[in-house]
């Protein structure tokens, strides 16, 4: 009945094969990877990962007091990505994040005091208490803001990339987004435009296989996000997002390429969210996700993996690590203290900042 069945079949098979291959073997760190990264950098990576973890855990600790009145989207389990991407960025490079932005902000160097103050709705917050946890900003640090509309930040990141090009600077722009955001048309429009104009943009997809509680399989015909890049004539790469060296390498390539004028890339980092979509609880109990899947990922803990890596390679000692943890814990206490003790905005400030006054 169908004449060119063969041709089509090949086409189908090809695309399916492409999916399988890439999906089954996300790129891991190269053998020489760890050796080619300076010890100081590796230490820095571990420090950031740990800082993010402890920040999120601190929120879990204080949240029950019910005085942090903002929805929190924790990134525990995904910390390696933010750390390994942002380490390649300069202060004047841009990142744009989502509802799940704590890790990115910390990795980019935001002041955790002002972040916590924001969560507590204080005047000293990074967004003066107006934005809350989903709208962090730190303009001096390349964070012009975050948006909680899924897919909404991707084109904005592309716009910042366009500005770099037009201004003749060599800053790059990173769009962090989830697998859910790839469902949105803005992903397509952004990829197309960035590729067309060869913009210095990194499309950094944190594929944690869920959008809220919708598994990727309920939203996409296959789970390979990196392969979407080819259609846009853009390089795409898939890495194990819990492997800090793998992410470091992939991000370095993408950032270097963008900075050198080589255009955008799509980097898919496969990872997993440990906690519920929003709030400090784990939602496995509610039947949102299979328990064994969750447990499997707990074993891939990016903190533990990085720790082991550094110990094995003698980059850091147990003792140094303990000291680091102590310091970080102190930072957290200070941040919460700062947030909790800062003044609230005055009610009259409600009307400020609707318009920029120049």
């Amino acid at each position: 009945m169908v004449k060119n069945k063969k041709l089509i079949k090949t086409a189908v098979k090809k695309s399916v094969r492409l999916v399988r291959t890439q999906a089954d073997s996300p790129r891991r760190a190269t053998k020489k990877g760890i050796n080619s990264i300076p010890a100081k950098t590796l230490k820095g990576l571990y420090e950031t990962i740990l800082r993010i973890r402890r920040f999120e855990e601190k929120i879990i600790e204080v949240y029950p007091a019910q005085d942090m009145k903002t929805p929190v989207h924790l990134c525990i389990g995904e910390e390696a990505i933010a750390a390994a991407v942002c380490i390649h960025l300069r202060k004047d490079d841009y990142i744009f994040s989502t509802h799940r932005s704590h890790g990115h902000s910390i990795a980019k160097g935001s002041d955790m005091k002002r972040m916590m103050a924001e969560f507590y709705g204080r005047k000293t917050g990074c967004s003066k208490g107006k934005g809350g946890s989903m709208h962090l900003c730190d303009p001096e640090n390349g964070i012009l803001g975050s948006t909680a509309i899924v897919g909404g930040g991707i084109p904005i990141a592309v716009g910042a990339g366009l500005a770099s090009l037009m201004k003749g600077t060599d800053t790059v722009s990173v769009a962090f987004f989830g697998d859910g955001a790839m469902d949105e048309g803005t992903f397509h429009e952004s990829m197309n435009f960035a590729s067309l104009k060869k913009l210095p943009v990194i499309f950094l997809c944190e594929n944690n296989f869920y959008a809220t509680n919708s598994p990727q399989s309920a939203r996409q015909p296959h789970d390979n996000i990196a392969m979407r890049a080819a259609g846009y004539g853009m390089p795409g790469v898939q890495v194990d997002g819990n492997d800090v060296v793998a992410v470091y390498e992939a991000a370095k390539e993408a950032v270097d390429r963008a900075r050198a004028g080589g255009g955008p890339s799509l980097v898919e980092c496969r990872t997993y969210r440990w906690k519920g979509h929003v709030g400090p609880d784990c939602d496995v109990e509610k039947g949102c996700r299979p328990r064994d899947e969750h447990e499997m990922w707990l074993k891939k803990c990016p903190v533990e993996r990085t720790r082991k890596l550094l110990l094995e390679n003698k980059i850091m000692s147990e003792k140094e690590m303990e000291k680091l943890l102590d310091n970080i814990n102190k930072e957290m206490d200070e941040a919460v203290e700062f947030g909790r003790s800062s003044p609230f905005p005055d009610a009259s400030e409600l009307f400020d900042d609707v318009y920029y006054k120049g």
Partner: protein
Amino acid sequence: MPWTKVYVDKSEFEKAAQLQKEGLRGLTFREALKEATAQMMEKDDRVFVMGEGVDDPGGIFGSTQGLHKKFGKERVMDLPIAENGMTGVAIGAAMAGMRPIFVHMRMDFLPMCMDQIVNHAAKWCYMTGGRTNVPLVIRSIIGKGWGSAAQHSQALQALFMHIPGLKVVMPSTPYDVKGLMVSSIQDGNPVMFIEHRWLYEQIGHVPEEIYTVPIGKGIVRKQGKDVTVVAVSNMVYEAMKAVQPLEAEGIDVEVIDPRTIKPLDEDLIIESVKKTGRLVIVDIGWKTCGVSAEIAAVVAEKAFKYLKAPVKRVTLPDVPTPNSPVLEDAYYFDYKRIVSSVKEMFREV
């Protein structure tokens, strides 16, 4: 009549339980909504539910909870996060014979699919000279509080009220939410079905059988002779709460719940203003070009000579939603604002 009754608080809730013994059936807003959906799905093969997370254990704040177990995931369909495209899909399915109910957890996501709603769903019947129609219900939920902030708290009903070809309903009671959902599914036109999250726990009398509440008909929740308070959605409850404090001041309030804001039951409002000579409009959205503007304008045009005092709008200020609890307190309002606004009106004259 029990189905016009608004139960304002806990104690009323208990009274309702009492009523149950008297043969009335107490159901929450959430349960009534789910019951309407389930019953219509049972009755009519063409009806199905689509939306991000409709088959989630949480089930859209409980309003679709478990429906996928009963009807299967094909008829209670989780979706990609692609509001504009999926609205197009719903429109196409509707025109081709289905009766989709598209659910959005937050109204803030509707700007994503404005094009399909405004340029397609709303106009398709007209553009084809009435030869096709789009029997589509779009549910969306208005949130509030806990630092949900600017992108997760919006009440955008006015945007849809402006568009010819759409119907916009905002039920406030369990009885109405069931009846209006049935009407919306049967209507044959695109209906924006807007629910305030804070209504979900409200309880009221809800008959078990399928029944309808007419789209385009408002209702007097409480009769009064001194001032007409038109309140939409959850503001109906705040208006009811304002009744007694105002009575204590000697002001007899008439409370109107339009239930549908497009088409708007202008006659009901005008008749009331003819009687009271005073109008306060209470909306949960922004003021400028909002629902309250339209109602004020209608009265300024059509019942001007009965007005004894300036019209008053009690709404959110024209400001994006802030995060800080202090600013939220300044942003949102409750019955007390209604009380003071009404009192002010009487002082002024």
